[in-house]
Symmetry: C2
Subunit: 493 residues, 2 copies
């Protein structure tokens, strides 16, 4: 292959080889049509860049209001950082974002609207905490570590009370914003713990899945802003709601998988969704804007960019993205996170009175869940694998598999070592995500750069979970960001 | 314009509108030739991506060793983060990297080789320190701040002694690497100062020009690694050498401007340097590699990528950049830095016994220099404008101009308010740099991500000042990185 193909062809090929569900008719029909009208610039009121939950929600709202819309999605699938993995026999498991819970009304409403039901995360029985070579059973959300318990109890109270001082939509205006943003979360925790090493070990269990990183990677203010967002206008954010299963962020799951929300939303939008259409260039001239993709160009009145923030900075902008927008987005890398799944004939841990939820301090998959389908068959263990451990095993899949299964066995016994299947999803290898679950904001970024994040740039508006106040980094934040962006535009057009 | 132009045309136009010196004959000849051989894939032993000091040095070394080389430069000029501004009458001033000093043998040798002479930075007379509304004259490199003097003296000693424990080529192996990398430089300085606010104010004067940011933006380990690099194999790095003028990093300047080194090096390379050739895609197949640019494609045995690290992650890679490389480069945004110049008929401050070097705590241009040509005519004041102050004035050029001139006046008197000319260079607006002077590494990055930085990826090797040990972020580091990359390849081919 290679040398005589045009660049255009190269790029399309790259996109087509990406993993994921193939979307139906609408987009394929578009392909045929496109070939005959290759050079014609199409028109729409609004072009939405990115067919994840944020972009699709924005498109729904605009269509409801009677506007013409096109959604340009770079991959051969919709859903962004949600992704179903087909287990056969009509069953799936989610290798991306998957949990929903109370106060996440926007994703819950959207799921209802597109006909996706939910079921409670399996939480019957005891959880397991693995530390110092011992597995201990416990109930509730905080593991019973005698070395860290005093620190943790105080920490949770203090974090909630500080988070209450952080405005979710403008964390840089918090009274102590400068003080909290100039240090890492680790620095603050160290300075405020008696047994800092152990306490940090425990805290990092949650940072692993929440950020794909460690407490040393992120601004303390950013962490407080996220805690403030674990709620809604009526219910102030609390750490407990963020890390909890029953009544918390991991309360429920979606029948048919979280990606089904996007798939159904895209079906309803029909031909308005164009796959394999990475956007390469956005060109504004006065009150109109031209969006150039691998599947053609569209001229519109407004654009919503609903991609991960850093990828937005890689589009060719004419005129250039304002320096504040560019500098901010360049400082918003996503975390390094994988989800690792082991499939068993049955969820054997349930018979042992275990919920399948486990934490292992310094574990290869430090946070584990029972991720079986609603009927409990097959049995599925899922482990988050991120941050330091991800780096340790990067490029060594065989060793990683062994280590993850050993980690499952530490929590649930030797049966965990013999799955009938095992697979992983590494979000850093996704060309159009480049990590997960959410951007990591390092010290200095919230106060110095973040304020411009949602400020429109001429005809361009911004969506994506990173732009949300409540449930920033979650599916709910993606949906609310899409609603906000659509509302901004409807207020103008 | 717009709608019917191909993407290729768009991109070429974008590159052509960038500012900078137009390069001569060789490249123009290439344009004509290219048109007739548009689709033919050209061949070279090595393709170098980026025509800054790193890339040009690598190309020189490879050509000396008899290899065929092409240098693909995205802009319409060479020199990367060095750039001459034409003052007319055969005079220039540098709006990018400009200073050289002892232990920077590699850039000094290269300057000699391409016939660029140097002259001492003007340092006759006293410096000025502006704080609390008062301008105080002083000599030496450390301003005489009674509130911070005790802290600073101890700080300098301690930083040097800690830096001595950091291996320049592998800072992540320092005995205390984890401890130093999990906090911001500000956190460490606060914990180790009596009068922390004032001490930080002073420290940030230097961070402004060194990183285009603040002590809160960067990992403390990264700062120590940079200090360790202010030297060479015989002379351990010291903070004093980094911040000093006489005998330090600001010791000397280059006759004709620092960019002249690149311009002369490119002239010697002739047609091997292709301008307006942004590289869009790098495709490896076994032992060969194809590089696709806006000026055609080249097939080669090896590639050296010598761009700012984050821009390398934006190239379309096939196969994809290994996740560790991608995740690292996404965490290496450049600082936000401008240089502001005011031109006067003569350097009036010299008559007042002033060197033109000044520091103003919390100043809009906190670090100022006499940047006049060797003969002292015209008189030029230059101020660095970065970090917090840059953000404050972003998008407000008129206010910034006034504030910068007022800052000059605070140090040198009211004559500074009436320049005959004033201009700025904002490195964040440079499409192919996206900031300056160097990547800012936030906490966690050095220990968790940096180790892969110079590891080859198949046929691809890496250069650029960020990959250097000694004088990382300086012109000298760029040159040594190009030498290293060339040497790696010559050892293989």
């Amino acid at each position: 292959m290679t040398t005589n193909l045009s660049r255009r062809r190269f790029l399309a090929t790259g996109a087509l080889t990406a993993a994921g569900t193939v979307l139906p008719a609408a987009a394929d029909a578009k392909t045929t049509k496109k070939k005959t009208t290759k050079r014609r610039v199409k028109r729409a009121d609004v072009v939405v860049v990115g067919g994840g939950l944020a972009g699709l929600t924005a498109a729904r709202e605009l269509v409801k209001a009677g506007r013409s819309v096109v959604v340009l999605e770079a991959r051969d699938r919709v859903g962004g950082r949600t992704l179903n993995h087909d287990l056969g026999g009509g069953k799936i498991v989610e290798v991306g974002g998957q949990f929903v819970g109370p106060t996440q009304d926007r994703i819950l409403n959207l799921a209802d609207e597109v006909g996706v039901a939910r079921f409670p995360t399996y939480a019957t029985g005891e959880n397991v905490y693995v530390a110092d070579g011992r597995a201990t059973r416990y109930s509730g959300d905080i593991p019973p570590d005698p070395q860290a318990l005093a620190d943790l109890a105080l920490l949770v109270t203090r974090l909630d009370s500080m988070a209450a001082q952080v405005p979710v939509d403008a964390p840089w205006t918090a009274p102590s914003a400068a003080e909290w943003d100039r240090q890492t979360a680790e620095s603050w925790i160290r300075a405020n713990s008696v047994n800092a090493e152990r306490t940090l070990g425990l805290v990092n269990l949650f940072f692993d899945s929440a950020y794909g990183g460690k407490a040393s990677d992120v601004s303390f203010l950013y962490v407080l802003a996220q805690i403030a967002g674990f709620g809604d206008a009526q219910n102030p954010g609390t750490l407990e709601r963020g890390i909890g299963t029953k009544g918390g962020a991991q309360d429920s799951r979606l029948v048919g998988g979280s990606q089904l929300i996007s798939i159904n939303a895209a079906k309803a939008l029909g031909r308005r969704v164009v796959l394999n259409a990475p956007v390469r260039r956005i060109e504004q001239h006065g009150s109109s804007v031209t969006v150039v993709s691998d599947r053609g160009s569209w001229k519109a009145k407004r654009v919503i960019v609903a991609t991960p923030p850093q990828l937005a900075a890689e589009i060719e902008w004419a005129p250039l993205l304002p320096v504040q927008h560019d500098a901010l987005r360049r400082r918003m890398p996503l975390g390094t996170l994988m989800k690792c799944h082991a499939i068993y004939d049955e969820p054997f841990w349930r018979k042992d009175g275990l919920s399948g939820m486990a934490l292992k301090i310094d574990g290869v998959a430090p946070e584990m869940f029972d991720n079986s389908p609603p009927d409990g068959s097959p049995g599925i263990l899922m482990g988050f694998h991120g941050g330091h451990e991800w780096r340790l095993y990067a490029g060594r899949p065989e060793e990683r598999r062994k280590a993850v299964l050993a980690c499952f066995a530490d929590a649930f016994g030797p049966k965990a070592l013999e799955p009938r299947d095992y697979f992983e999803q590494d979000w850093t290898t996704e060309r159009w995500s480049r990590g997960g679950p959410v951007s990591q904001l390092s010290p200095g970024t919230v106060t110095e750069f973040l304020p411009v994040l949602t400020q429109p740039f001429g005809t361009v508006h911004w969506a994506g979970t990173e732009t949300a106040g409540y449930w920033n980094g979650y599916m709910d934040g993606a949906v609310s960001s899409g609603e906000r962006a659509a509302k901004e535009i409807l207020g103008e057009l």
